[in-house]
Amino acid sequence: MFNFGEPRPRRRPNLTPMIDVVFLLLIFFMLVSRFGADRVVPLMAAGEGDGWSGPPRLVSIAPGGLALNGVPVAPEGLAAALAPLVADPSDPVILRPQEGVSVQETVLVMDLLGAAGFSRLVLVE
């Protein structure tokens, strides 16, 4: 009936452990996430599509330079030299890197052809 105690202030729960956990989660997600989509250069598997049509289109990538069907060609002239050999830019073009050629050099050629509109690049050994 009697209450002689002073009214105690309401105690708030201790938030510190929750903040610790939330900070750990935050740091985890900051470290583990990868932002921004990667850029890609498309490449087709050999043997896809409906057969071959037209003249051969073989781009050899050698350490010294490029050759189209065995004829040396400058990188900037490659797209122009390929143009008469295709009926449509979606016709496949075969790339054959030789020994000693790095992936970077191959990707540069793929990039060059991709910029010229050739959308089906096939890499063969």
Binding site: L15, L26, V32, R39
Partner: protein
């Protein structure tokens, strides 16, 4: 003589605004982040001008020496592991309507012949299109 009030106990700062901000950051990272799987080995992808964006898919790695890597398998085992992973994926998903994409993370210094040597095996698995991951210049 000091007649000022006795020192009051220091009040703890109000933490709620900070907690709000931290929660907002946490939710931002949860939503915005794409979790990246571990790399079998570090690679430096080649540079290119392409502005095509990568889609999500399987990732095959090619190290500077030309060795393949997938998840934690290396060499020929990586190719087998990739084939198994694709088969497991296709058992539950419709791979004909939506063929899975293969991302190739090849090191810029890797021999291109090693990459070309992988192509028949990858094509035989059913990957019609492979995307080489590049860095924008």
């Amino acid at each position: 003589m000091d007649f000022s009030d006795p020192p009051r106990p220091a009040r703890s700062e109000n933490l709620l605004p900070m907690i709000n901000v931290v929660f907002l950051l946490l939710i931002f990272f949860l939503i915005a982040a794409r979790l990246a799987g571990p790399e079998p080995f570090p690679v430096t992808v080649p540079e290119a001008e392409s502005d095509m964006l990568a889609e999500d898919g399987f990732t095959l790695w090619l190290g500077p020496g030309g060795e393949a890597g997938f998840a934690d398998a290396l060499g020929d085992e990586a190719v087998e592991a990739l084939a198994a992973a694709r088969a497991a994926h296709c058992a539950t998903a419709d791979c004909v309507a939506e063929p899975p994409v293969l991302l190739l993370r090849a090191d810029a210094d890797a021999p291109a012949a090693a990459l070309a040597a992988l192509m028949p095996a990858l094509g035989a698995m059913g990957f019609a299109r492979m995307d080489m991951v590049t860095l924008p210049r």
